[in-house]
C-alpha cells in the first residue's frame, strides 16, 4: 500500500502546488486591491488616521473589516451609520456619549487627529467588501422606508437617532421622539439639550457636546414632531 516515499511525495507536491497557487492569487489580489478599496481616494489625512487607529490599538476593542476584538462596535460602516459629527463627539468625550454604560478609553485626541480618524473611517466605509456587512434580514424596521425628508438637520440623524427612534427608525436606548413637539415646548427642549442633568437629575441622557447653533437647529426640528 502507501509507502513512506509516496507519502513524502504527496506532501511535497501537494504543498508546492498549493503554495504556488496561493502566491499567484496573492499577486493578482494585490493588483486588484487598489481598485476595490478606492486607493486613489486615500488622502494623507486618512493615512494618518489609519496609523493613529493602529497606534491607539482601536482593534483591541473594536472590529474593522470584521477584524479585531468583540468588545466594541464594528467600525467598517460607522461613517454611514453615525456620521462624522457623532464620531467626532464620541472621540472627544466617550463617557459623555454613553453615560453609565460600557466605557471607551479617553484618548484626548487633538481636533486634527479626530478629523484624521474620521477621514480614515470614511475611506474604509466606501470599500467594496463583497457585500459585508449584510443588512440585517430580520430587522423590525427592515421594511420601513428610509428616513423621510421631514426637514431634520443632519446632526439629528447622527447624534439623536443613535439612541432615539422617530417613526420606528433609530435606537431604543432612549424613548421614542414621536410626538415630542406635542409634549414639550422649545424652551424646555433647549434647556434639556443644553444641560439634561439640571432638568432631570440622574437622567441617562448625555450632556452632548453641541454648539448653540446646533441646539437651536435641533429644537426647531423637534417642535415639529407631533402625534
Amino acid at each position: 500500500m502507501l509507502s513512506k516515499s509516496s507519502a513524502r511525495m504527496f506532501f511535497l507536491v501537494g504543498t508546492a502546488l498549493c503554495a504556488v497557487a496561493f502566491i499567484l492569487l496573492t499577486l493578482d489580489t494585490f493588483q486588484q486591491i487598489p481598485g476595490q478599496t478606492n486607493q486613489d481616494e486615500l488622502s494623507p489625512a486618512a493615512i494618518r488616521g489609519k496609523h493613529l487607529f493602529d497606534s491607539s490599538n482601536c482593534m483591541g476593542c473594536h472590529t474593522i473589516l470584521g477584524e479585531g476584538a468583540y468588545y466594541a462596535p464594528e467600525l467598517t460602516r460607522v461613517y454611514d451609520r453615525r456620521g462624522p459629527e457623532f464620531i467626532a463627539a464620541m472621540l472627544r468625550d466617550p463617557a459623555a456619549m454613553y453615560p453609565g454604560r460600557r466605557r471607551m478609553e479617553q484618548y484626548d485626541f487633538t481636533e486634527e487627529q479626530i478629523s484624521d480618524l474620521v477621514a480614515f473611517l470614511e475611506w474604509v466605509g466606501k470599500m467594496d467588501l463583497n457585500g459585508f456587512p449584510a443588512n440585517p434580514p430580520l430587522a423590525a424596521n427592515a421594511g420601513v422606508a428610509a428616513a423621510p425628508d421631514d426637514g431634520r438637520p443632519a446632526i439629528f440623524g447622527q447624534m439623536c437617532t443613535a439612541c432615539h427612534a422617530v417613526g420606528g427608525r433609530g435606537g431604543s436606548v432612549g424613548p421614542s421622539l414621536d410626538g415630542v413637539g406635542t409634549r414639550f415646548d422649545a424652551e424646555y427642549l433647549t434647556r434639556w439639550l443644553t444641560d439634561p442633568q439640571s432638568v432631570r437629575p440622574g437622567t441617562a441622557m448625555p450632556d452632548l457636546p453641541l454648539t448653540e447653533a446646533q441646539v437651536s437647529e435641533l429644537t426647531a426640528y423637534l417642535v415639529t414632531l407631533h402625534d
Binding site: 500500500m1 502507501l2 509507502s3 513512506k4 507519502a7 513524502r8 504527496f10 506532501f11 504543498t15 498549493c18 503554495a19 497557487a21 496561493f22 492569487l25 496573492t26 493578482d28 489580489t29 486588484q32 486591491i33 476595490q36 478599496t37 493615512i47 489609519k50 493602529d54 497606534s55 491607539s56 490599538n57 482593534m59 483591541g60 476593542c61 472590529t63 474593522i64 473589516l65 470584521g66 477584524e67 479585531g68 476584538a69 468583540y70 468588545y71 466594541a72 462596535p73 464594528e74 454604560r101 460600557r102 466605557r103 478609553e105 470599500m127 467594496d128 467588501l129 463583497n130 457585500g131 456587512p133 449584510a134 440585517p136 434580514p137 430580520l138 430587522a139 427592515a142 431604543s172 436606548v173
Partner: protein, 470 residues
C-alpha cells in the same frame, strides 16, 4: 533523557508555566469587563488586557515549541545540542523581549494590529532570537548521527514559522493590504506551519509512548501534514472574504476551508489509532492522555468549530462576532496548548528523575482543564450565536446586544474558574517535579523499567505492522 543539553528544555517549560498563568489573569479581566464589571478600566483597559492575553498565548506556545525542539532534536539526532550555551542566551533574550512587550502594552506601546501588537523594534529582536534558535537546532540536526523525518518536519515547521513572521512587517497604508499580509502570518502560522511543528512533536510522542514503528508513524506524519497544507494554504482565503479583496476568495476560501477539518480529523484518527494499536504500555499514561487529547480537541476546536463558520454564507453574519472567540479558544487549546502540555508531561519525569504522572493532581489537571474549556466554549458559543441573531440578523444595537449577553459571561467566568483549577493543578505538579537533576547516566541506567524501555532504541522496537493498514 539521553543528552545533557536536553535539560535546557526545563527552563523553556518553566517559562511556559509562568506566562500561561499570567495569560489566565488577563483573560479573567476581559471576561469580567464583558460581564459588566470593568473596575480595572483606568489601569488595564480592555484593549491592553486583550493584547497581553493573546500575545502571552503566542509567547508561551512558541516557548513550548522551542523547549520541545531542544528536548526532541538531540534525541532524534543522537548528539548534544550544537551550541548549548546559545540556547540559554536565546531563552533569556526571548523572555526579555516578551516582558518588555507586555509591560509596553500597559503604556500603550504597541502596533495595534490584531495578534501582532508587538511594536516594530521588538519584532526585529524576535526575528534575531528565533534565527539563533533555528541555527542551533539546524546545526544539531546537520551534525547529528541521523536525520529523522520527525526532526526534519519539526525543523521545517520552525524555520517556516520564522520566515512567515516577515510578511507582517511589510509597511502599508492600505487597511486591506495590511490585513491581507497580517493573515499571512497569523493564518499560515496556526493553520499551516505550526501544524508541522505539532505533527513533529506528536510523532515524537507517539513513537515514544506507543512503541509503534517509527517508519509507520512518520509515513502517516507526511500524509497528515500533506493534508494540512493542501487545505490550509488556500484555506487562508476564509480571511479574505470581506476585507476588500476579490470575490474569487469566497469560493476558493470556502472550498479549501471545508477541507481543513479533514486534516484535523486525520490527526485525531492518527493519534487514537496509534495509541490503541501500540504494543508498548508506557507508564506515563498522563502524557499519552494529553497527546491523544490534543489530537481530538484540535479536531473539535480547530476543525469542527472552525468549519462551523467558515462557509462564506455563514461567515457573512458571524464575521467579527463572539462566534470567532468560541472557535479560537478551543482551537488554540486543543492544537497548541495541549500539545505543549503533552510534551511537558512526557519530558518532566525524564528531566527531573521524578515520576509524578500517577499523582491524582496530574489526572485532575487533565480532566478539569478540558471540561472547563468545553464549558467555556459553550458559553462563548451561546453568547456568539445570540449576538449574531440579535445584532446581525435582527439589527439590534451593538451595546444593547452586549448587555443581553452579559449573563453568558458569568457562565464563562464559572467555566474559566474550573479551567484555571485544572491549570493550577498542572502547574503545581510541574513545580513538585523540582529542578532538573541527576546526571544523564543515572537517568539512563538506574531508572524504572518504563524509563529504560524508553531510552532503548525505539526504531522498529515493537509493532512491525502498520496498525492503520492492518
Amino acid at each position: 533523557m539521553k543528552y545533557e543539553s536536553q535539560r535546557i528544555a526545563y527552563w523553556f517549560f518553566a517559562t511556559c508555566m509562568l506566562l500561561f498563568g499570567l495569560q489566565l489573569v488577563y483573560g479573567f479581566i476581559m471576561a469580567f469587563a464583558h460581564a459588566g464589571l470593568d473596575g480595572l478600566h483606568d489601569i488595564i483597559p480592555f484593549h491592553t488586557a486583550r493584547a497581553v492575553h493573546t500575545n502571552l498565548l503566542v509567547m508561551w506556545n512558541l516557548c513550548g515549541f522551542m523547549g520541545a525542539a531542544y528536548f526532541i532534536v538531540p534525541e532524534e539526532s543522537e548528539r548534544e545540542l550544537y551550541w548549548p550555551k546559545l540556547a540559554v542566551v536565546q531563552l533569556v533574550a526571548f523572555v526579555a523581549v516578551g516582558v518588555t512587550a507586555v509591560i509596553g502594552f500597559h503604556f500603550s506601546w504597541w502596533e495595534g494590529r490584531k495578534f501582532l501588537e508587538i511594536p516594530r523594534p521588538l519584532d526585529y529582536l524576535v526575528v534575531v532570537d528565533v534565527l539563533l534558535f533555528i541555527a542551533n537546532i539546524g546545526m544539531t540536526i546537520l551534525k547529528g548521527k541521523r536525520i529523522t523525518t520527525t526532526a526534519s518536519v519539526l525543523f521545517f515547521g520552525l524555520l517556516m514559522a520564522a520566515l512567515l513572521y516577515l510578511p507582517g512587517m511589510i509597511p502599508t497604508d492600505n487597511q486591506t493590504q495590511d490585513s491581507y499580509l497580517r493573515w499571512w502570518v497569523v493564518h499560515l502560522w496556526v493553520e499551516g506551519v505550526w501544524e508541522l511543528i505539532m505533527g513533529g512533536i506528536l510523532a515524537f510522542l507517539l513513537i515514544k509512548l506507543t512503541g509503534i514503528d517509527r517508519e509507520i508513524i512518520e509515513k502517516w506524519l507526511y500524509v497528515i501534514v500533506g493534508l494540512t497544507f493542501l487545505s490550509g494554504i488556500l484555506g487562508t482565503g476564509h480571511h479574505y472574504y470581506y476585507i476588500g479583496t476579490p470575490s474569487y476568495w469566497l469560493w476558493i476560501g470556502g472550498i479549501f476551508s471545508a477541507l481543513e477539518p479533514l486534516a484535523f480529523l486525520g490527526m485525531a484518527m492518527y493519534g487514537i489509532t496509534m495509541a490503541r494499536k501500540g504494543g508498548r504500555k508506557h507508564a506515563n499514561r498522563t502524557a499519552l492522555a494529553w497527546t491523544v487529547g490534543c489530537c481530538v480537541m484540535s479536531f473539535v476546536g480547530a476543525g469542527f468549530l472552525g468549519f462551523a463558520h467558515t462557509l462564506p454564507q455563514v461567515n457573512m453574519y458571524t464575521h467579527g462576532t463572539l462566534v470567532t472567540a468560541m472557535h479560537g479558544h478551543m482551537a488554540f487549546w486543543g492544537a497548541y496548548a495541549m500539545l505543549v502540555l503533552a510534551i511537558i508531561t512526557y519530558a518532566m519525569p525524564l528531566l527531573t528523575g521524578r515520576k509524578l504522572y500517577d499523582r491524582p493532581g496530574a489526572a485532575f489537571a487533565f480532566w478539569t482543564s478540558n471540561i472547563g474549556m468545553i464549558a467555556m466554549t459553550l458559553a462563548f458559543g451561546i453568547a456568539g450565536v445570540t449576538q449574531v441573531a440579535l445584532e446581525r440578523r435582527m439589527g439590534m444595537d451593538f451595546l444593547a446586544v452586549q448587555e443581553e449577553v452579559e449573563v453568558h459571561f458569568w457562565g464563562l467566568i464559572l467555566a474559566a474558574t474550573l479551567f484555571t483549577l485544572g491549570i493550577t493543578a498542572f502547574i503545581v505538579n510541574f513545580i513538585q517535579h523540582g529542578l532538573p537533576k541527576g546526571d544523564v547516566e543515572a537517568t539512563l541506567g538506574g531508572a524504572a523499567p518504563d524509563e529504560s524501555t524508553d531510552t532503548s532504541d525505539d526504531d522498529g522496537a515493537v509493532a512491525a505492522a502498520d496498525p492503520v493498514e492492518a
